[in-house]
């Protein structure tokens, strides 16, 4: 997507920018229930004309707080002075500007409708037009046409008021639903679903010569809101594009390209697509769409039969396991309403108990109760209407699920949890060797990445296991909020999904460029070294898994065999355990500066209560990108890992 970028730092930008856009969009939809930007409408209306130029600057700063501040600083100036500022700002912000390149004109117009929505309350604002401001910019001897193309120019105010008088119900056109756009395979059509692009542009041209420009007084606060507005528009556009790309992949042919899907999912999956995409990435559903229905029915039936069996009188209840799960269920996500509903608790209890019984090598281990929740929660969303998906945590599923639906969600969650845990089963068997290895790998990684921090931790007698054990056991689920975890899993599942027989190499190569071949080598090396031993990296699945031959009760002991099988192949395979260590390293590194000032007590206390409560998707995306970068940089290091 977008421009080809070569350097790794840009690559990061690319990764970090777009996905977050979608979910925060979704959030804003869900929060307001109306327009994501309505609350800002006042600010926008009072400032549009005054700051055409600055408006552009704000465009470019969409992804960067620093630039944002810069422009705000300059906002008090006016008239021609600000042109130079704008140019400066433009130059400054351009390199960090991530995803604007692929905005088509169609998208611009759909965004104009949004702006329109923001101006519901204003009728008396003098307008400027795209053309006019274009001229203004050409005055400054710069080629601003590119800017106009690239960054969405606010359309005329007259158009807004015009449009609004014709369309009283402006919410409709915001339709957050990706379902709307699903009908279209070409993503440039999408504005038809949301807005009428042609009417928007004709309106713009009609207004081309209208009115003189006045400069309403702009407060700094309002200006800030305007910037927010612009940003949200861009985010919206980017999200719409992404939604359409997912639609394309998922609907294009009978065989879904898992490689493409992985590539796209790495940067985040739109909420509406997540249930299906997760099932595909994890290998619960096959790439061949024609087999979806048959397979999923079979798996659901298998689950049902299994459940019937273990709860029949013939089955002797494993009391210790049952008791352990029973006391953990009420302690699972206790701060989220969803997990307090008896219906949900009952389902989770069944899923976890069934899993434990089928995996005697590990049995139920605390923390697995956390790991099932993202699946459960996401699969619930497929039964919710679009506008309620984001509220899944607040609604009792009993109000919208039939008993049959419940069984389906349970079955899907169970199978996906099984698939997921298969790859990290070493974390939960006796002695938890997987976790111990990960902790020690994290330690050696920290030593390389941040020697200063490493030395400090050593000096203070902090042992990595004292804080990182939980990071591994619960995959950081205890350290970040659930919606962040879910976003994280988009990447985890696409980073480590098993599509080896369908072009895993392709996907690795496509996304990772030249680095992938080296990494492949590395992984081969790794597998060869670990040949014949149980390793945490032995996450390869049999080729069968992709087409989803029903799994059997011996899943938990397959690990070893799979490792051996895989060592002969040329496919690159990132294990979840491996990537997760890099994410943990990035996570630790995030707090490096604070930690350096702390003593033992401070460090442990801090790392047990890491301040992530206000994290947004961008934060986790930066983390994931960093992890990815380090994985590439330190690939040689990992070949020595246990």
């Amino acid at each position: 997507m977008g421009l080809k970028k070569s350097s790794s730092s840009r690559d990061i930008n690319q990764k970090t920018s777009s996905p977050s856009l979608f979910s925060s969009l979704m959030k804003s939809w869900s929060h307001s229930g109306h327009s994501p930007t309505r609350s800002n409408s006042k600010a926008y209306s009072s400032s549009t004309t005054d700051n055409n130029n600055l408006g552009y600057a704000s465009d470019t700063s969409s992804n960067d707080g620093t630039a944002n501040q810069l422009t705000r600083k300059n906002s008090s100036r006016s008239g021609s002075n600000s042109f130079t500022n704008v140019n400066d700002i433009y130059r400054m912000t351009k390199p960090i500007m991530p995803t604007n390149h692929h905005h088509s004109n169609n998208h611009s117009s759909s965004s104009s409708i949004l702006l329109n929505n923001n101006n519901t309350n204003t009728g008396n604002i003098n307008s400027s037009t795209i053309k006019k401001s274009h001229h203004k910019f050409s005055d400054s001897n710069e080629d601003w046409s590119a800017v106009v193309d690239d960054y969405n120019m606010p359309p005329s105010m007259d158009f807004f008021t015009d449009y609004l008088s014709k369309n009283s119900n402006t919410n409709m056109m915001l339709g957050p639903s990706p379902v709307l756009s699903k009908k279209n395979s070409g993503h440039n059509n999408n504005n038809n679903n949301y807005t009428s692009g042609s009417s928007s542009s004709s309106n713009n041209s009609n207004n081309k010569n209208s009115g003189t420009i006045t400069y309403p007084k702009l407060t700094e606060h309002n200006y800030h809101l305007e910037l927010e507005n612009e940003r949200e528009l861009q985010e919206l556009n980017s999200k719409l594009t992404r939604i359409n790309k997912f639609d394309q992949i998922l609907s294009s042919s009978s065989i879904i390209s898992l490689a493409e899907l992985k590539k796209l999912s790495w940067n985040g999956i739109p909420m509406g697509h997540r249930p299906l995409v997760w099932k595909l990435l994890i290998g619960y559903l096959p790439a061949n769409k024609k087999r979806h229905e048959i397979l999923i029915q079979r798996k659901r039936k298998e689950y049902k039969t299994g459940i019937y069996h273990i709860f029949s009188p013939q089955h002797t209840r494993d009391q210790p396991t049952w008791h352990q799960i029973e006391i953990d269920i009420p302690r699972t996500n206790p701060h989220i309403k969803l997990y307090q509903f008896p219906s949900v608790q009952k389902s989770l209890q069944k899923i976890l108990y069934f899993w434990a019984i089928r995996h005697p090598a590990s049995g139920y281990v605390q923390g697995i109760n956390d790991l099932v929740t993202p699946f459960f929660q996401i699969f619930l969303t497929s039964y919710l209407p679009e506008h309620q998906k984001a509220k899944v945590c607040d609604i009792d599923p009993e109000t919208y699920l039939t008993e049959e639906n419940f069984a389906e969600v349970e079955a899907d969650s169970f199978w996906c949890l099984s698939k997921f845990l298969d790859t990290i089963i070493d974390n939960y068997i006796h002695g938890q060797p997987g976790i111990m290895k990960q902790v020690s790998n994290l330690e050696s990684l920290c030593k390389r990445i941040d020697g200063q921090l490493y030395k400090h931790l050593k000096k203070e007698n902090v042992e990595f296991v004292q804080f990182a054990f939980r990071w591994m056991n619960c995959l950081l689920m205890r350290e970040v909020p659930i919606d962040i975890v879910i976003r994280m899993w988009d990447t985890y599942l696409s980073e480590t999904s098993s599509d080896d027989n369908d072009g895993g190499v392709d996907s690795a190569g496509a996304r990772k460029g030249s680095g992938s071949s080296n990494m492949k080598m590395m992984m081969n090396n790794n597998n060869t070294l670990s040949d014949g031993t149980v390793t945490p990296n032995g996450v390869a699945q049999n080729a069968n898994d992709l087409i989803n031959i029903p799994t059997h009760a011996n899943e938990s002991v397959n690990n070893n065999n799979n490792t051996n099988n895989n060592s002969g192949s040329n496919k690159r395979k990132t294990s979840l355990s491996e990537f997760h260590v890099f994410v943990c390293a990035a996570f630790l590194e995030t707090w490096s500066n604070s930690l350096l000032d702390m003593d033992f007590q401070g460090i442990i206390t801090f790392l047990q209560n890491v301040p992530t409560a206000n994290w947004g998707e961008k934060d986790i995306e930066i983390l994931l990108s960093e992890a990815y970068m380090w994985q590439t940089l330190y690939k040689d290091a990992t070949s020595h890992w246990l």
Binding site: N333, P334, F469
Partner: protein, 243 residues
């Protein structure tokens, strides 16, 4: 009290079966609050609390008068020997409490958290017989991994938690508990409720006191010997106390 005197750091480990209330007890003691919403502990949680201990009451009997568990704490003959460097009234220390996970699978972690402990708290749930029976298991487990210098004198404290529940739900009698505590070497025993805040402070006072005692004992044993790699500050030797 000279200004140069450094703080004692006392390391305390809380052990016991899953769900007996280890986290709740610790939260009650450290933060004075109770919640139904604690997540199951993974690995171990860490909390600290500053404590002021009255040295003259190293014999804990007096502060223990309202303890309805009615136990003997006469086994502190060794303690009086260590009062010389703390004889000037009260003493402050930092309790570093490790609240461990109860599930058996996490026991392999033990060594990372047990080492250097000054006191070990064993918790059971008065409504859960199994958790009571496991007290001894937990104690042995601790001694196995903690590598303490003299297992016979290492201080343990037993807490029978959840005594706020209906009598009918209690399956472990006070008598049984007292017998066990005695059998394991006159271990101090408290019946507590984190929920209703019964005996929690008193119990932790005793825990802190035992820990301090142990800390000083270790201190004397390793006096000027070597610096412990564990996070105990060995700063109470004669050389550091010129007051």
């Amino acid at each position: 009290m000279s200004g140069g005197r450094k703080k004692n750091i006392l390391k305390v480990i809380i052990l016991g079966d899953s769900g007996v209330g280890k986290t709740s007890l610790m939260q009650r003691y450290v933060n004075g609050k109770y919640s139904q919403q604690y997540k199951a502990t993974i690995g171990a949680d860490f909390l600290t609390k500053e404590v002021t201990l009255d040295d003259s009451s190293s014999h804990v009997n007096n502060s223990n008068s309202n303890n309805n568990s009615n136990n003997n704490f006469n086994n502190d003959n060794s303690r009086t020997q260590h009062n010389n460097n703390t004889s000037n009234g009260s003493k402050t220390a930092t309790l570093q409490v490790w609240d461990t996970a109860g599930q058996e699978r996490f026991q392999s972690l033990g060594v990372a958290f047990y080492r250097g402990a000054d006191c070990c708290v064993l918790v059971y749930d008065v409504t859960n017989l199994k958790s009571f029976e496991n007290i001894k298991v937990w104690r042995d487990e601790f001694l196995l991994h903690a590598n303490v210098s003299s297992p016979e004198t290492f201080p343990f404290v037993i807490l029978g938690n959840k005594i706020d529940v209906d009598e009918a739900k209690k399956v472990v009698s006070a008598r049984q508990a007292q017998d066990l505590a005695k059998g394991l070497g006159d271990i101090p025993l408290f019946f507590t409720s984190a929920k209703s805040s019964i005996n929690v402070d008193i119990a932790f006072e005793e825990i802190a006191r035992s820990a301090l005692q142990q800390n000083q004992l270790e201190d004397d044993m390793f006096e000027d010997d070597f610096n412990d790699a564990i996070n105990i500050q060995l700063d109470n030797g004669p050389s550091s106390c010129q007051c």
